[in-house]
Amino acid sequence: MREIRRSLLGWLAGIVGFSLMMLSIYPTIHGNAGFSKLLDAYPEALRKLFDLSDYTTGAGYLRTEVFSFMAPLLLAIFAILWGSDLTAGEEERRTIDALLATPVSRRRVVMEKWLALTLATLLLSLALEVLLGVFGPLFKLHVGWAPLSAVIAGSAFFALAFGTLSMAIGAGTGSRGMARGVAAALAVTMYLVSTLAQLVGWLKPWRWTSLWYHALGTDPLSNGFQAGHLAVLAFSIAALVLAAVMLFERRDFSN
């Protein structure tokens, strides 16, 4: 774990910086009549796409900027990079050989790595929550802890799902590039399916296939914890962990 501690600290610093930057912009937007007029000018479709519904109140700003895209994205990027590093990265750096020569089962190796991923993702999510919750009011951003937690939970589950997917692909292929590429592409696709479903009629019934929809598409900031949807995410994560273990156990580690 120590080897990756430095990476974790780097990510923490990044999230802190990002949060503060976003928060500092807020006061200038808050109550700015001119800005509201600008928003009204945007066509209806575009507003729905980027969720520009309520830019100037606390929840609206959070939802729009931080959570319509950036925060879950940041967490997901972290998780995807880490996930690929934990399996494929170890293989590419050739440290896997000595490790698997010790009397540990492959299953245990994967589970422990996944645990590390989960804890790290949780830690970063918590940091994000604390930052926004504590420093938000300083920037006149007032969101209750409950709605904030609901959104963070959705983002964290989303990130963990794709991090686990990245781990699984890395376990099965040994390629960090492939793991990251596929996981990222899928994440973006699911984001698009979820947001475009608001505009495109035939896409709407397919929303449920998108993990983004289950995480954030139901607007947890306004509607609170969505237990059913989080359950779907949890189930997906469990399935992905199983896949990661199976792929890792079947793998031929040749050079």
């Binding site: 120590r2 080897e3 430095r6 750096r93 050739r94 440290t95 896997i96 050989d97 000595a98 490790l99 698997l100 020569a101 010790t102 009397p103 540990v104 089962s105 031929d252 580690f253 040749s254 050079n255």
Partner: protein, 312 residues
């Protein structure tokens, strides 16, 4: 040609049950290569050397033993246990140096080795320090600052810690300076003296010849021959190179019974002769020569000799 498998078959089988058993093992990679029809038996306390050029299949075999890769067919058993089903139990008794050692760059050797000591079932640090001291290994600087030799030493300690019953060493001395090579040879020798089994691979003939009792030659994925080093030496030919003052008669040595090969290039005469060298000296006493060299063949030459002989 069938591989010849020699066992120490003059003893009670209970005490000499094979530590390693490969039975008609096949492994084919999608990109080609791999190993074909490998059958081999290694008994307890043996030092066995695997010799062959790069890509011949030495690393493949070692990785098959460790369950890092799985065979297409065939049986692999270590300590009588199945290499895949009982992999964890087997690995509890094995030490391994990979051919391409990778270490966690940001950690120090101390951190890495204590981690491995824990994974190997809680080997006390006090048991590891003698080896660290013997190798003069710097353990408190991060790995990325270490030279290749020192990295390999870390791998060495990781493999030898806890005195495992079986050592699998894949090209253990490649790229190392002679001093470190000697230290590795020492550790292997000590392991053998303690009755532990060593299975090592190399493409360096002298190294295998120096450390191993039995040698297997592998080429293009097949086990071509398995012989005791002692037997090979006895059957192999001396290599004789003579520089004559003037172009010699090509049939110069043809009267010698032990003559296996000879050829002439200009004033140089090359011959391979087995057996007694005295007739050679007798023949040479009557001619004018400017230079003479008689040398022992290297391991590969010994093998080739053996290979050709078995076809006669």
């Amino acid at each position: 040609m069938n591989a010849q498998i020699l066992d120490r078959n003059d003893q009670d089988p209970m005490t000499t049950a094979p530590v390693i058993e490969l039975d008609h093992v096949f492994k084919r990679y999608r990109s080609g290569g791999g190993v074909r029809d490998i059958s081999l038996s290694i008994v307890k306390g043996e030092v066995f050397g695997f010799l062959g050029p790069n890509g011949a299949g030495k690393t493949t075999i070692i990785r098959l033993l460790l369950d890092l890769i799985r065979p297409n067919s065939g049986v692999i058993r270590l300590f009588g246990l199945d290499s895949r089903a009982d992999s964890v139990a087997i690995r509890r008794r094995i030490g391994y140096i990979p051919g391409d050692l990778g270490l966690y760059e940001r950690l120090t050797p101390r951190e890495i080795l204590s981690h491995f000591a824990y994974l190997r079932g809680g080997i006390p640090w006090s048991a590891i320090t003698p080896l660290i001291d013997e190798l003069s290994l710097e353990i408190d600087k991060p790995v990325r600052t270490l030279s290749k030799g020192n990295r390999q030493k870390v791998g060495l300690v990781a493999a030898f810690m806890g005195d495992p019953e079986l050592l699998l060493l894949d090209e253990p001395t490649s790229g190392l300076d002679p001093l470190v090579q000697q230290q590795i040879h020492e550790q292997v020798r000590r392991a053998a003296l303690e009755g532990r089994t060593v299975f090592l691979s190399s493409h360096i003939l002298s190294e295998v010849g120096e450390m191993a009792e039995r040698v297997g030659l592998i080429r293009d994925g097949q086990l071509i021959a398995v012989e005791r080093v002692v037997d090979l030496a006895q059957r192999s030919a001396h290599l004789i190179d003579i520089s004559f003052a003037s172009p010699p008669d090509p049939n110069f040595f043809s009267s010698l019974p032990g003559l296996r090969k000879s050829n002439v290039i200009g004033n140089q005469f090359h011959a391979e002769v087995t057996g007694d060298l005295n007739p050679v000296i007798a023949l040479l006493s009557n001619v004018q020569i400017t230079d003479l060299s008689i040398r022992e063949p290297g391991l590969e030459e010994m093998f080739l000799t053996f290979y050709e002989q078995s076809h006669e």
